[in-house]
């Protein structure tokens, strides 16, 4: 009877699906990082470098120290292709595995995915880390207890970039009457800074033109012709993936001087400039961390992780590249948060809620950074209950055709200007969603 056959096939399929769930669950007593990585698609260069660095650092801690305070790290990857619905599926797939502790934190490295996860991660009490990107107003930890745009949120980046341009011109007062064009990626990430550039333009009296490049950005002739007509003093490139080398090549083609293009923190990698060839020589970009392999922590990764053949990057030439080092920085911040939380809760696998406490109290001073072998790689950071960014400063680097050379000291953002706007935006969100603000006052130190 074929009906029965169909039923039995269905049952088999159901059993298979159910079984997969249990395969994923591993022994407890491990700290689990679900990785929503992307190794396929237009942004694969960023994905492989970043997640490669993150995994390499976790591997280093496992191999060298036997984990953090004796608790090992485990992780698995779920491919998102940088697509929101795939990222959401990956989240749902992993959120309740590795019980009782569950996932320690999510690091999607995609603004779109991060946006979709804010509600989910908050109600599941799992931290959501958006290093150097994310939703700016999630800096306000009173409204977004579980979201951490660590080191640098997009508005800080825009503000620091304008400060740097001011420095180059010989003072912020020289900005008045100048023209700046912002070329941004047509995605939530790219659009995040539109109001801030408008605000800064008003404050300093320069004229800003913001031009969108539709995803993925492999055709920009029209945009650069507009720029040529406009003749701005500087172009701020807020690109991502393939958009960056195309922008540099098109700039040269349309005769715009490359050393007056300032790339943002997602337009600053070797993968962005090498494909552009000679066109990229002289290009300047923001960075929160230099590239290079001279840092002790990177050397140790080469020796103890790649030496044992468990390194994650296929192309060893990419070790110490901007994306790889960012992954390592991200690893350091996540592991330090776990360490701080363990000092409070005990040396064991921690729940997401406990790891959140660690991020909320994440402090990295120069001494600790030196102990980690990351002097010059990570900026000092102090995250608090109310401030989930913690840093906010950047350096600028210039591409000489072979390597990135740091060309500035730390350039700070105007946090005093941004903070009220962040709070205003966060409070509007809280009102819309009916969120009770967390008390971060001195009576409730954190």
């Amino acid at each position: 009877m074929s009906f029965r056959k169909t039923i039995s096939r269905l049952a088999l399929a159901a059993a298979l699906l159910g079984g997969l769930g249990s395969v994923a669950a591993k022994a407890d007593g491990e700290i689990y990082f679900p990785l929503q990585s992307y190794r396929v698609g237009p942004y694969a260069a960023g994905g492989t470098g970043f997640f490669g660095g993150f995994i390499d650092y976790l591997n280093l801690i496992n191999e060298r120290d036997g984990g953090v305070n004796g608790v090992k790290f485990v992780w698995d990857e779920c491919e998102t292709e940088y697509k929101v619905e795939r990222g959401v599926e990956c989240y749902e797939r992993t959120r309740s595995t590795h019980q009782p502790a569950g996932p320690a934190a999510y690091n999607p490295l995609s603004v779109g995915i991060a946006y979709a996860l804010i509600d989910r991660a908050t109600s599941d009490k799992i931290p959501l880390i958006t290093i150097n990107h994310g939703r700016t107003d999630s800096t306000d930890g009173r409204v977004f207890p579980y979201v951490f745009p660590l080191q640098l949120n997009p508005w800080s980046e825009a503000s620091a970039t304008v400060n740097y341009i001011g420095q180059q011109l010989g003072g912020l007062d020289k900005l008045a009457g100048k023209k700046i064009a912002v070329l941004y990626h047509g995605s939530p990430y790219g659009k995040e800074t539109i109001p801030i550039f408008d605000l800064l333009a008003k404050k300093y009296g320069f004229e800003v033109t913001q031009i969108e490049v539709p995803h993925p950005g492999n055709e920009q002739q029209a945009q650069w012709l507009t720029i040529r007509r406009l003749k701005p003093e500087y172009v701020v490139l807020r690109g991502w993936g393939v958009m960056n080398p195309v922008a540099l090549k098109t700039a040269v083609k349309t005769g715009f001087p490359v050393d007056h293009i300032i790339g943002n923190v997602w337009s600053n990698s070797e993968e962005d400039v090498i494909p552009a060839g000679d066109a990229a020589k002289g290009y300047v970009s923001v960075t929160t961390h230099p590239s290079g392999t001279e840092f002790p922590v990177v050397k140790e990764i080469v020796e103890k992780v790649y030496g044992k053949g468990v390194g994650n990057l296929e192309d060893k030439g990419r070790i110490g590249s901007v994306y790889h080092n960012l992954g390592i920085v991200n690893g350091i911040l996540n592991v330090e948060a776990v360490r701080i939380a363990q000092a409070h809760f005990g040396n064991r696998a921690l729940t997401g809620e406990e790891v959140q406490w660690g991020f909320d109290h994440l402090v990295l001073d120069d001494k600790r950074i030196a102990e980690l072998g990351a002097t010059g790689l990570v900026q000092p950071l102090q995250v608090t209950c109310a401030d989930h960014e913690g840093g906010g400063a950047v350096k600028f680097q210039q591409w000489d055709g072979k390597t990135w050379n740091v060309v500035s000291d730390w350039v700070a953002s105007d946090r005093a200007l941004l903070r009220p706007l962040i709070e205003q935006s966060a409070e509007a969100y809280a009102k819309e969603k009916g969120i009770q603000l967390r008390d971060c006052s001195a009576a409730n130190p954190s």
């Binding site: 491919e79 929101v84 959401v88 749902e92 779109g112 509600d119 047509g186 939530p188």
Partner: protein, 343 residues
């Protein structure tokens, strides 16, 4: 176009027997699944499956039944999602279902406008002209931040799913909410295909000159097809945004999504309501099963990029195999199998 016409009642079986599987399926979906499923099943598999199935049903009315090829489905989904959001945001106390319906009506209106070229264009030329909808809508939603309530990133946050004071904001709730909406609209679409209007759709598809000589207004039928289809696709877009992602950005409704829905219809079977569900199952659920299988079996050996590319090859190969086995789609394949089994 295919040679599918109205389905014939099976010989030797009473009329209700043909509907038994659907009734059984609905009984299971409403009566069993909510009690046995877990959050992953609801939030990551069934809700997106239902939303895209509904979009498939909508497009099938237009492409399968009325013969008008559209590459703008994602645009109409976006219109539905953003319009529902704005109606609920800006009209105090507007019930959620009314917001969904108004979103659908807005999508229908936009569909009507972009359906106008169908009066002059056919086939591939019409498909290309519907691309205009795809690009225009995405551009407009990105360009004017009024649509996303001035949010810096252009991302909207979904309103809570509450109907008559009952909250559907749990995973089972979102599933049941989607299921009810999808079941009702699918029923309506199914009734429509069996009505005079449905027959006129098919008449226009098969030969519009003949249809007009029968007294059918080709103009009216084509525009009606665009409107009805866009309404359903618009509601599907709102479901996708509110029940599945719970945030939505215009880039989520790009040309890839339009193609995805078109493939759902083609692989599932043109002019078949069942086909939309089978196609959505193949396009939405099957890659997930494959991805989880791949990760569980080979995740330690290969990185996720290699697995992902391998899955694409498998899915692509299967699509070719299916279409060779049955060019009329999965629906026809299922029909053939059940017929063989019954005999």
């Amino acid at each position: 176009m295919t040679d599918l016409t109205l389905s014939q009642p099976r010989q030797g079986l009473p009329a209700w027997a043909g509907r038994l599987p659907v009734a059984l399926l609905l009984a299971v979906a409403f009566g069993v699944v909510p009690f046995v499923g877990d959050q992953y099943l609801f939030d990551a598999i069934l809700v997106p499956f239902l939303a895209l199935s509904l979009a498939g049903v909508g497009l099938n009315l237009l492409t399968g039944y009325a013969g008008q090829v559209s590459l703008g489905s994602a645009a109409f989904m976006a219109v539905g999602a953003f319009a529902s959001y704005n109606f609920i945001l800006r009209i105090e106390g507007l019930p959620l279902l009314a917001g969904l319906a108004l979103g659908g009506v807005t999508a229908a209106a936009v569909g009507l406008v972009f359906g106008l070229p169908s009066l002059r264009l056919k086939g591939f030329y019409l498909a290309v002209s519907t691309l205009a909808a795809q690009f225009f809508v995405q551009w407009a939603l990105t360009k004017f931040d009024w649509f996303s309530n001035g949010n810096a990133s252009g991302v909207i946050t979904a309103p809570p799913l509450t109907v008559l004071g009952i909250s559907f904001d749990s995973s089972v709730g979102r599933y049941l909410f989607s299921l009810i909406v999808v079941a009702l609209l699918t029923l309506a679409a199914w009734r429509l295909t069996r009505s005079e209007i449905g027959r006129s759709f098919i008449a226009v598809r098969d030969r519009d000159v003949a249809a007009s000589s029968l007294g059918i207004s080709v103009l009216r039928v084509k525009l009606l097809a665009f409107a009805v289809s866009s309404f359903i696709v618009g509601v599907a877009g709102a479901l996708w945004a509110f029940a599945y992602l719970r945030t939505v950005e215009p880039a989520g409704f790009d040309l890839d999504r339009s193609f995805q829905i078109l493939f759902i219809v083609i692989i599932g079977g043109l002019a078949s309501i069942r086909g939309a569900f089978l196609g959505a199952g193949f396009i939405v659920i099957f890659p997930l099963i494959l991805s989880r299988l791949g990760q569980a079996l080979l995740g330690d050996t290969f990185d996720s990029g290699v697995l992902e590319n391998a899955q694409k090859i498998v899915v692509g190969g299967l699509i070719i195999a299916f279409l060779i086995a049955e060019p009329a789609g999965l629906s026809a394949l299922v029909a053939r199998l059940t017929r063989r089994n019954l005999n």
